[in-house]
């Protein structure tokens, strides 16, 4: 009985020291970690809508107004479709004429070397300047589609393309 108390106490002591150390370290890094996540998001918003200078949130974490001075010149929205092996998160800018101003994949778990190529400029930059009707894979919509699928990664390419199209259409009014 006494032994079991002694062991518990020692374990408790070590856990206490460790918890104290980590609490201190957490305090020390937390702000930086939060700052990193925020600045990454801000950076992504700027790249998908380079003409705008501020992005007030209209729907927390999913939709932002793209403002230039006092004028609203478009919308930035986030989509998160299912890819080949998990969720893909992307942000996309849409101007008032209904053209895509840019698209960036923020996170994904697609296969390295195949689906992971959705993060390359070659794929992402295709969306820029396209109208909603053109946002379709060439192989899915031979007439209007303007997006080349990544070779051997059709599922990932299609997931992003469809989500961007659906997301843009859902913004409504800006056809």
């Amino acid at each position: 009985m006494k032994d079991f108390l002694r062991l518990a106490l020692i374990l408790f002591l070590f856990c206490g020291i460790s918890a104290g150390l980590l609490a201190f370290f957490n305090q020390f890094t937390r702000e930086r970690i939060e700052g990193q996540a925020l600045s990454e998001k801000a950076e992504a918003l700027r790249t998908v809508f380079p003409d705008a200078d501020s992005f007030p949130e209209t729907e927390p974490g999913r939709r932002w107004d793209a403002m230039k001075g006092q004028d609203r010149i478009g919308t930035v929205f986030q989509v998160s479709p299912m890819g080949y092996s998990g969720q893909i998160t992307a942000v996309c800018g849409l101007d008032k004429e209904g053209r895509i101003t840019g698209m960036r994949v923020l996170s994904h778990t697609e296969t390295a070397g195949l689906g992971a190529k959705i993060t390359t400029a070659a794929f992402q930059d295709q969306f820029k300047g396209k109208t909603i009707d053109q946002i379709a894979l060439k192989k899915d919509d031979a007439a209007k589609g303007a997006i080349d699928a990544i070779a051997a990664a059709t599922v990932s390419s299609r997931a992003v393309t469809r989500a961007v199209r659906a997301g843009a259409a859902a913004q409504g009014g800006t056809k």
Binding site: L11, T29, R32, I33, Q36
Partner: protein
């Protein structure tokens, strides 16, 4: 000199990956590119050396019955520190290593060295052991990562090294490639050791 031996045994003779063959999960999963592999090696080095030193210095205070939970507390403290640090100062690397940084907690090399070495030896010897194991681990995982990245993507540390006509052999950056490359490394290691043995 005994201390030098503790240091150098991890490089080749008792290499943690090729001979002890522990921590293969991290080795296989984090060697898709040279950068990831080196990052994993760095995180591992911090945890390995830190936990070896702390565990050897508290070894006389640790009751035998609860040594394993205590070791895990020490190891996970170091892992959490490196995990937070990477998130704060190297977010891109942290994202590409993902869950494998927290998983160093259950990396069998760290646990194995704590149990087999640091719990029984002095601080200095454990420090040497930790450095040796870390160098051995980091060197092998980075080499595997470089080879997989060159063959599977035509780059190393993100720089194009293969001519643009080279068609990357994708399988090398997919999971089977990790097993293939690791297998060749083990075979090569075995051959070198056998040769040495034959000559002696």
């Amino acid at each position: 000199m005994k201390l030098t031996q503790e240091l150098t045994k991890g490089f080749f003779k008792e290499n943690p990956i090729l001979i002890i063959m522990l921590g293969l999960c991290a080795t296989l999963a984090c060697s898709t590119s040279a950068t990831d592999a080196l990052g994993m090696g760095a995180a591992f080095t911090f945890v390995m050396i830190g936990s070896n030193v702390v565990i050897s210095s508290i070894r006389k205070l640790v009751p035998n019955q609860i040594r394993i939970p205590l070791y895990i507390v020490v190891i996970s403290t170091f892992v959490t520190i490196i995990d937070y640090s990477m998130k704060a100062w190297a977010p891109a690397l942290s994202r590409s290593l993902g869950v494998f940084v927290p998983l160093i907690v259950v990396n069998c090399i760290v646990m194995g060295r704590a149990e087999a070495f640091a719990g029984k030896n002095g601080v200095l010897a454990s420090l040497m052991d930790g450095i040796g194991m870390s160098v051995g681990f980091t060197a092998v995982i980075t080499l595997i990562g470089s080879i997989r990245e060159i063959l599977g993507n035509g780059t190393v540390f993100g720089f194009q090294v293969m001519p643009s006509v080279y068609q990357p052999i994708l399988i090398f950056i997919l999971p089977p490639g990790a097993f293939l490359v690791l297998g060749f490394f083990m075979a090569a290691h075995k051959r070198i050791t056998n040769r040495k043995g034959g000559a002696a």
